[in-house]
Symmetry: C2
Subunit: 554 residues, 2 copies
């Protein structure tokens, strides 16, 4: 690619929530911003996580100068353990907490792999090839989040990462209005901005509001308090710790990721826990209930999480009892509504008081509402605008917002993953596509489960399977054993003996018909069996199990 | 059961949203109120609908005096086609529209079954055995909804059905405050009241608000307007028709249930359509776009619905084009959020303007918010209270509300399905349990899919199946063919030849080990194969497919 042009190539996070990743190319250099994962959609049966297809990066791996991380959430760093092995020696830049969280992941997934991690601080500038990469502090629901400004010879590309505008941040670290304003004054060529909350009017509340909500809850609580929230929301955990201390309560931690993150954040100095405040769960169980707070995972109703286990009376150390107050400090991510509702119901059944979504002040979003998005656009005054991080309708609304604020309509680009948006100093255009999409991770398999396997899983899930086995004499072509029918997930076999017996009859007569016609091709025999049986079963049950004829030659 | 006591026996709708059904027993008479269905939970793979377990009613069928319906929604009448065959000659009472909708269902499911349907009007009183059954008009998101008062020798049981308080009903038919007040004045023994919206403070808006929202949208729309809503919300459809007329637009109808309901409602006089307003879709396609409104199903993003087909460019007659305005006049039912979001995204991609949840005034609920629930409690002043229609947390909150308004705490009963609540004039108590629960309907099978089949489907859905077949000589016990391995939904077979080859080796050596030990029991051979293969596959893939060894004897 010749110089004088910038290409923005989104690889994930456009038209979807999650697996955020984006490449910026100038001349012969590429900088990658984030590489996150996504949780599977309902129809992706058996899939653990979804990562971006990074074929484009693999094809151009020699051009990659740096991987830059905006913050430590899974949807921004979670694909790296799967992807990094492709990119030897590419340095990974991020703030201290971001890299601290990444290190934990790498130790687990890639214990033998050496990654060149480079810690940066806000306002640091790193030079790689034609790029100067600048890190700019923003507020978000995890500390140490940054926006990234890529200074190129033809202009600045500013990527907000995930952000919000919090005027009273818990750690006192304000979003860097001044630097954003300077960039805007000097001229931003392209702005890429977070669209997650573009559907919400007004302002997102300060994280501090949640601290006040905790205070009020603790004041009224007579027994234990349990707080379920995202492990990575360290500011929230900090506030819980401070309020606990204020009310003379010890803090215990439940759930693997909560234990991990609290450990990392504490060790790196992002979480300040007064000595003697933190206790083990076993210890907490010895204390009077009104002196205990438990921080736990499970705010999304995840089936294996600590809170869900407690709700189902299946947690080794914590029994929910009447008098417990449980704060669900989160809103369900779309798709998790029913899981969360079920956990809340179970907690109610155990006699706990549960404070959730319908009670205000116990959760705030980490993403910018419309007024904050306007502020970002007006501060940075970009010539070109690409909304990122959002489903298609959100990108459309964010684009509309930018136009309302004066960005030229032809300078606003609603792109899809894989679509190249190319800019000169003067103009922008769509300039073709690269491979992009979803790679499904199932167990140790990365990308080996595709449409065929998923289609089979779907059919199996709906109506089960019916296997027809028979043995045929190699020489005579005679059936020497079977047909036997075995089914799973189709009908309750003990209640369907008659049906399966009749099915066997159908196979028999199908085989006889084949023999009569002189059909000896296995493929046509199988297809005949499949057709006859399929029709019969649908007629009798209105179900369409997978029918799998297996012929053995003896 | 001796007289002087009333038993309330909820069979569905408590601790869940849907399949509402409840029996009221006095002496040797039982009245059943509603018998609805529920849509399956995510983990009920392949299930079409869920209906209440009515074993209790079947066991006592000779005592059943009447089935009484409060309104025509699926979650109140939808189980009847499955259940009615058990109850010959039991009369079914309901208002005209309710029975009109039921008739359609029965014609489809039970064409040869004679059902004794008896039309009632609000304020009608029907005498059956010891009961006087009175019908009382309420507002809801379907016309002709009623509450039911059962007058027994020891007092009145009042069941609100689903209701809301709409002071400006579209059809002018107000909730019967006066009769409710009279009952309250005379004394209600037990109130059962709708808990669906107990988590919402304030008042539910009038249906008329939606008409105003439609008007504003139509005023601005330059092209076609499409409105997706529940087919049964006839007041909303009425408003759409009136607004269409006001703006000189013809109305076409898409989607099977919308066509059906519009037909029934029109025929019975619940929907007034000015002559010449209704056109076929083909006809609408010939008209200028600004003269067309399309009413459609699909407000829940149901995969096979008309709106979803349109969004996916898969509808025979309707292509979405830029300039179309689409109103999603509904909120997603919990669990449907992602389906709805996907449809909205696709509609946006086709260039349509989509007005959905985030735009106010295009949908209102049919259920009462807290202030309306308080009004119902205060009007009827019951001695005893049982919250119904809601998940457990909702029942709990509704119970709390009743206590706050002065119902004695010991007179409030949060019950579960199957739990008998028994009342005398003076006192109430839990009095044991009857069989209750969920019956799963899959195709033509009612209740034949249970935990075993579902567990199999779940495993198949997660990791697929691996079938190992071999043929053994009957006399020698020697393997004469196989082992062959066939898999579905486990791995992409073409990419896993090596793995499956190794798996075959594992089976071979397992069989040899069995032979060496002299194991000839098929069960132990199979279990050995399953163990060895299971470990091997988990180790190599971290997946646990179902492993199904099949041995044929030749």
């Amino acid at each position: 690619m010749r110089e004088g042009k910038i290409q923005i190539i989104p690889l994930g996070g456009l038209g979807e929530i999650g697996k955020n990743s984006l490449a910026v190319r100038y001349g012969d250099g590429i900088v990658v911003i984030d590489c996150g994962l996504m949780f599977p959609e309902e129809e992706m049966l058996g899939i653990d996580v979804v990562i971006p297809d990074v074929s484009y990066l693999v094809e151009h791996k020699n051009l990659i100068r740096a991987i830059v991380l905006t913050h430590g959430h899974e949807d921004h760093i979670g694909a790296l353990p799967y992807v990094l092995p492709h990119f030897q020696n590419v340095p990974v830049y991020g703030t201290r907490l971001t890299l601290g969280l990444l290190e934990g992941k790498l130790a687990e997934h890639l214990p033998d792999h050496d990654v060149d991690l480079r810690v940066v601080r806000p306002r640091d500038v790193v030079e790689v090839g034609h790029f100067k990469i600048e890190f700019i502090r923003v507020s978000h629901s995890i500390p140490d989040a940054v926006a990234v400004a890529l200074h190129t010879p033809i202009g600045v590309v500013l990527h907000t990462g995930d952000f919000k505008v919090d005027h009273t941040p818990v750690d006192g670290e304000m979003i860097d209005f001044h630097r954003l304003a300077q960039l805007g004054e000097a001229g931003v060529l392209v702005l890429l901005s977070d669209s997650t909350n573009v559907e919400r009017p007004g302002y997102t509340m300060s994280e501090r509001v949640v601290g006040e909500g905790f205070d009020e809850t603790f004041r009224r609580a007579r027994g234990r308090v349990l707080i379920a929230t995202f492990a990575s929301n360290i500011h929230r955990i900090q506030q819980a710790v401070l309020v606990a201390q204020r009310y003379g309560r010890k803090v215990a931690v439940a759930g693997r990721s909560m234990v991990n993150v609290v450990d990392v954040a504490h060790r790196l100095g992002y979480l300040h826990i007064p000595p003697g405040t933190l206790v083990e769960l076993e210890e907490a169980n010895q204390l009077p209930r009104h002196e205990v707070v438990i921080l736990t995972t499970g705010s999304q109703g995840e089936p294996m999480s600590a809170l869900t286990r407690m709700a189902m009376a299946d947690h080794k150390l914590v029994d929910i009892v009447p008098g417990d107050t449980i704060i669900i400090s989160a809103v369900p991510i779309p798709g998790n509504e029913k899981l969360v509702a079920r956990v809340i119901d179970q907690l109610f059944k155990r006699g706990a008081e549960v404070l959730y979504e319908t009670v205000g002040g116990l959760h705030v979003s980490g993403h910018p509402s419309q007024e904050e998005l306007k502020l970002m656009l007006n501060l940075t005054r970009p010539k070109f605008f690409i909304p990122v991080h959002g489903e298609y309708r959100m990108l459309m609304r964010h684009a509309e917002l930018a136009r309302e604020l004066g960005v030229s309509p032809e300078n606003v680009f609603v792109a899809e993953n894989g679509q190249i948006v190319e800019f000169t100093r003067k103009s922008g255009r769509f300039a073709g596509r690269v491979t992009a999409g979803r790679v499904l991770v199932d167990g140790l398999g990365v990308g080996d489960v595709g449409n065929i396997v998923l289609r089979d899983r779907k059919q199996l899930a709906q109506d089960g399977i019916l296997i027809v086995v028979l043995a045929i004499n190699q020489e005579s072509g005679q059936v020497v054993a079977g047909p036997d029918i075995v089914s799973r997930g189709f009908v309750y076999v003990r209640g369907a003996e008659q049906l399966l017996e009749e099915a066997k009859e159908k196979v028999h007569s199908a085989l006889e018909k084949c023999a009569g016609r002189g059909t000896t091709e296995w493929a046509s025999i199988k297809s005949q069996v499949r057709d006859v049986l399929g029709r019969f079963l649908y007629d009798r049950t209105r179900r369409r199990p997978m029918i799998l004829p297996i012929i053995m030659e003896v």
